[in-house]
C-alpha cells in the first residue's frame, strides 16, 4: 500500500513522468488498435468473436523473429509475417471458422478459445517459453534530462503500424474487394443476391485479419517482447477496445487503443509491474460493467 501511494506521489511530484507514461502507452496502444481493428473487421463482417486474435499476433511475432534469426532484415520480416499469417488464417478459416459462422456465438467463442490454447502450445513447443525480442541497434532519443527516452525502433514500429492501418483503410474504402466486404457486413443476403460470393469474402476477411495481426506481432517483436502465452492478454485487450468503441467505428477503435495502452501503463506504474496483466483484464470488467449500466438505463441488456 505504501508503495502504491509512493508511486502516486511520484506522478504529482514530477509531472514529466506522466508524459513518459503516456508516450509509452500510446506507442504500444497503436499496436493494440491494429489487432482490435482486425477483430472488429471479423466481428462485423461474419459475426465471429475470435478469441485466438492475440495468438495470431504472437504467431506473427515468432515468424518474424525466426526469420530474423535466419538472417533476414527485420522489415522484410514484417512482410513475411503478413504473408505467412495470411496462409495460416486461410487454413484456420477452412478448417474451423467456416463451420461456426452460422452457429450461435458461444460456439465460435469456444472454438476459437480451443484454437488459442492450441496455437499457444504449438508456439511453446516450437520456440520455448522464454520471452523473445529482436535487438535492433538504432539510437534512443532522450528528452527532458533523460527522463523520457524514446527508442527509434519503437517510433518506427508506430509509424509502420500507422502505415499498415492506413493501407487497410484505403483498401476497404477504395477497392472492389473492400466494397464487397462492406456490403457483406451490411447484409449478407442482399450481397449474395447482388452476385457477391460471400463465402469468398468471409475467407478473405479472416485471412486479412490474421495477416494484420501477424504484421502487428512482427512489429511488436522488434520493439517489445513476446512469449507464447501472452496471446490471451492481447485477445482481451482487443475485446476491450472493440467493446469500448463499437463495431465499424474506426476513429473510436484507434482512440480506444491508444487510451487502453496509456491506462495500462498507468496501472502498472501505480500498482507495480506484477499487475500488468491484471490491469488489462480489470479494464475489461470495468468496461463491461459501464456498458451494462449504460444499457440498463434504457432498460436494455448487453447481448
Amino acid at each position: 500500500m505504501d508503495q502504491i501511494i509512493g508511486n502516486l506521489d511520484l506522478l504529482f511530484e514530477f509531472p514529466i513522468v506522466n508524459l513518459k507514461i503516456i508516450i509509452d502507452g500510446v506507442m504500444i496502444g497503436a499496436l493494440f488498435a491494429l489487432a482490435a481493428y482486425g477483430l472488429a473487421l471479423v466481428w462485423g463482417v461474419m459475426n465471429v468473436k475470435n478469441l485466438a486474435q492475440g495468438d495470431f499476433v504472437i504467431a506473427g511475432g515468432y515468424t518474424a523473429w525466426w526469420l530474423v534469426q535466419q538472417g533476414i532484415h527485420p522489415f522484410l520480416g514484417i512482410l513475411a509475417a503478413f504473408i505467412v499469417m495470411w496462409g495460416i488464417g486461410w487454413v484456420t478459416y477452412r478448417l474451423v471458422i467456416s463451420r461456426v459462422i452460422q452457429r450461435d456465438l458461444f460456439t465460435s467463442l469456444l472454438a476459437t478459445f480451443g484454437l488459442a490454447i492450441m496455437m499457444a502450445q504449438i508456439l511453446n513447443l516450437l520456440f520455448g517459453s522464454d520471452t523473445q525480442s529482436i535487438q535492433l541497434d538504432y539510437a534512443t532519443f532522450h528528452f527532458a534530462d533523460g527522463l523520457i527516452d524514446v527508442p527509434a525502433a519503437k517510433l518506427m514500429g508506430v509509424v509502420m503500424a500507422m502505415a499498415l492501418a492506413g493501407g487497410v483503410i484505403l483498401f476497404m474504402k477504395r477497392s472492389r474487394m473492400g466494397q464487397a466486404i462492406r456490403a457483406t457486413a451490411q447484409d449478407p443476403r442482399a450481397a449474395r443476391v447482388m452476385g457477391i460470393d460471400t463465402e469468398k469474402i468471409y475467407s478473405f476477411t479472416f485471412s486479412l485479419n490474421a495477416a494484420i495481426c501477424g504484421a502487428a506481432g512482427a512489429i511488436i517483436v522488434m520493439a517489445w517482447v513476446i512469449q507464447p502465452f501472452y496471446g490471451i492478454t492481447y485477445s482481451i485487450r482487443a475485446f476491450v477496445i472493440v467493446t469500448a468503441a463499437g463495431l465499424g467505428n474506426l476513429p473510436g477503435v484507434i482512440a480506444a487503443g491508444l487510451g487502453i495502452g496509456a491506462l495500462e501503463q498507468y496501472g502498472s506504474h501505480i500498482l507495480g509491474i506484477g499487475y500488468q496483466q491484471a490491469v488489462a483484464v480489470l479494464l475489461l470488467l470495468l468496461l463491461l460493467l459501464a456498458r451494462m449500466l449504460q444499457q440498463r438505463r434504457q432498460r436494455q441488456v448487453l447481448k
Binding site: K49, V96, R99, V100, R103, D104, L105, F106, T107, L109, L110, A111, F113, G114, L115, A116, I117, M118, M119, Q121, I122, L125, I232, I236, F239, T243, G272, G274, Y275, Q277, A278, V281, L282, L284, L285, L288, L289, M292, Q295, R296, V301, L302, K303
Partner: protein, 348 residues
C-alpha cells in the same frame, strides 16, 4: 422399467464404493474423475439448463481452495506468518485440528463461493450470451492475477497445506470418498431439483429470457440462485482439492483457466448439454480418454486438448445424449408418430 431403475442405482452405488478397492493404484485418478463429474454437473446447471455459458466457473474452484486453506490454517496459526514460512516444518497440526479444518474448511469454502456467486452475479447477469462468457472468463483470469500478487496468501508461491496425520494410502481413500460423497449428494440434489418447477423456470430463461420476464418470472433471482448453488458445490470441490494436492499455487492449480476451467465445458458438450446424465457421461468419457492417451503425446497433450475442444464444438456439439435422443427418441419418452399412423380428420 420400474424394477430395473432402482437396480441400476444399486449397481452404480456398489461400483462407486468398490472402485478404489478394485483399482487401488488409481485412487487419485478416480478422485479426479469425481472432481470432473462435480464441475461438469454444476457447469451444466447454468450452461445447459439456464443457457448462461460461463467460462469462469473455475473462479469458484480456486476461491474454494484458498478459503479452505485460510480457514484451516487460520484456526491454528496466523496465515501471514504461515505463508511467509512457505510450509516450513515449524507449523505442526494435530489430528483434531486437521479434521476440523477439513470439515469446516470445505463447508466454509462452499458457503463463501455461494455468497460470492450472488455478489458477482448481481452485476454480471446483466451480460448476455458471449458477453457473459467473456466477462466471467475475465473475472477468473483477473482473480488469478490478483491472488498471485497477494502476499498474505503466499502470492505466486501458493500455499502448502498441512500433511495428513496418518497413512498416505488411507488419505487417498478418504479423499476419494469425500469427493464421491459430494458427487452423489449433488446428483441426488439435481435429480430432485430437475423435477420441480425450478427447472421449468430456468429452462424458460434459456429459451427466451425476455418472454420469461414478461410472464412475471423474477429472472435475476432464479439466475442468482442457480449460480450460487453451482458455486457452492464447486467451492466444496475446490476445498477438497486443496487438501488432496497438499501444495497449490494460484495460476496453474487454483485459477487454472485453460485446464479445468475449459475441461468442464468440454465434458458437458461431449456428454450432452441440458441433461442430467450427459455431464456425467461426458466427464467419464473425457477423463478416461485423457488419462489413457495423455502419456503418449509427450508435450503435445495441450495441442491435442485444443484439437479435442475444436472438434467437439464444431462437429459434435449436441453431445452423446443429443445424438442418442436423435437416434432413439423413445428412450427419452418422446413419442414419434409414424407418418401413416396419423389419422387425418376429415375437413368440415
Amino acid at each position: 422399467m420400474n424394477l430395473s431403475k432402482p437396480a441400476l442405482y444399486i449397481v452404480l452405488l456398489v461400483v462407486i464404493v468398490a472402485a478404489p478397492f478394485l483399482l487401488p493404484a488409481y485412487k487419485t485418478q478416480l478422485a479426479t474423475l469425481w472432481l470432473m463429474i462435480i464441475v461438469a454437473m454444476t457447469w451444466d446447471m447454468t450452461g445447459g439448463q439456464m443457457g448462461y455459458n460461463s467460462l469462469g466457473n473455475i473462479f469458484f474452484y480456486g476461491t474454494g481452495m484458498y478459503v479452505a486453506a485460510v480457514i484451516t490454517i487460520g484456526m491454528v496459526y496466523d496465515v501471514g506468518d504461515y505463508t511467509n514460512a512457505a510450509g516450513g516444518g515449524i507449523y505442526a497440526f494435530t489430528e483434531t485440528q486437521y479434521f476440523t479444518g477439513l470439515v469446516l474448511g470445505c463447508i466454509g469454502a462452499g458457503l463463501f463461493c455461494a455468497l460470492s456467486a450472488i455478489l458477482i452475479g448481481w452485476p454480471t447477469f446483466g451480460l448476455r450470451g458471449p458477453y457473459f462468457a467473456i466477462g466471467t472468463l475475465g473475472m477468473a483470469i483477473a482473480a488469478g492475477e490478483l491472488v498471485s500478487n497477494w502476499e498474505w496468501v503466499g502470492a505466486g508461491q501458493g500455499i502448502s497445506m498441512p500433511n495428513y496425520p496418518g497413512d498416505f494410502e488411507t488419505f487417498k481413500l478418504l479423499i476419494y470418498f469425500i469427493f464421491a460423497g459430494v458427487g452423489v449428494v449433488l446428483f441426488i440434489f439435481l435429480k430432485w431439483l430437475y423435477t420441480t418447477r425450478f427447472r421449468s423456470a430456468i429452462n424458460a430463461i434459456r429459451e427466451d429470457e425476455d418472454k420469461a420476464e414478461a410472464m412475471g418470472l423474477r429472472t435475476l433471482t432464479y439466475k442468482l440462485l442457480t449460480w450460487s448453488m453451482a458455486a457452492f458445490f464447486v467451492g466444496i470441490a475446490g476445498g477438497i482439492s486443496a487438501f488432496q494436492l497438499i501444495h497449490f499455487e494460484p495460476l496453474e492449480t487454483a485459477y487454472q483457466t485453460i485446464n479445468l476451467g475449459i475441461f468442464m465445458v468440454v465434458c458437458v458438450l461431449l456428454g450432452g448439454k441440458g441433461t442430467l446424465w450427459g455431464p456425467i457421461i461426458g466427464a467419464v468419457l473425457f477423463h478416461v480418454v485423457k488419462e489413457v492417451t495423455w502419456n503418449y503425446f509427450l508435450g503435445w497433450q495441450w495441442v491435442a486438448l485444443g484439437a479435442i475442444i475444436i472438434v467437439t464444438v464444431v462437429y459434435f456439439q449436441d453431445g452423446l445424449m443429443g445424438w442418442l435422443k436423435h437416434k432413439r427418441p423413445e428412450w427419452f419418452g418422446i413419442r414419434v408418430e409414424k407418418k401413416d399412423q396419423i389419422v387425418t380428420e376429415p375437413a368440415e
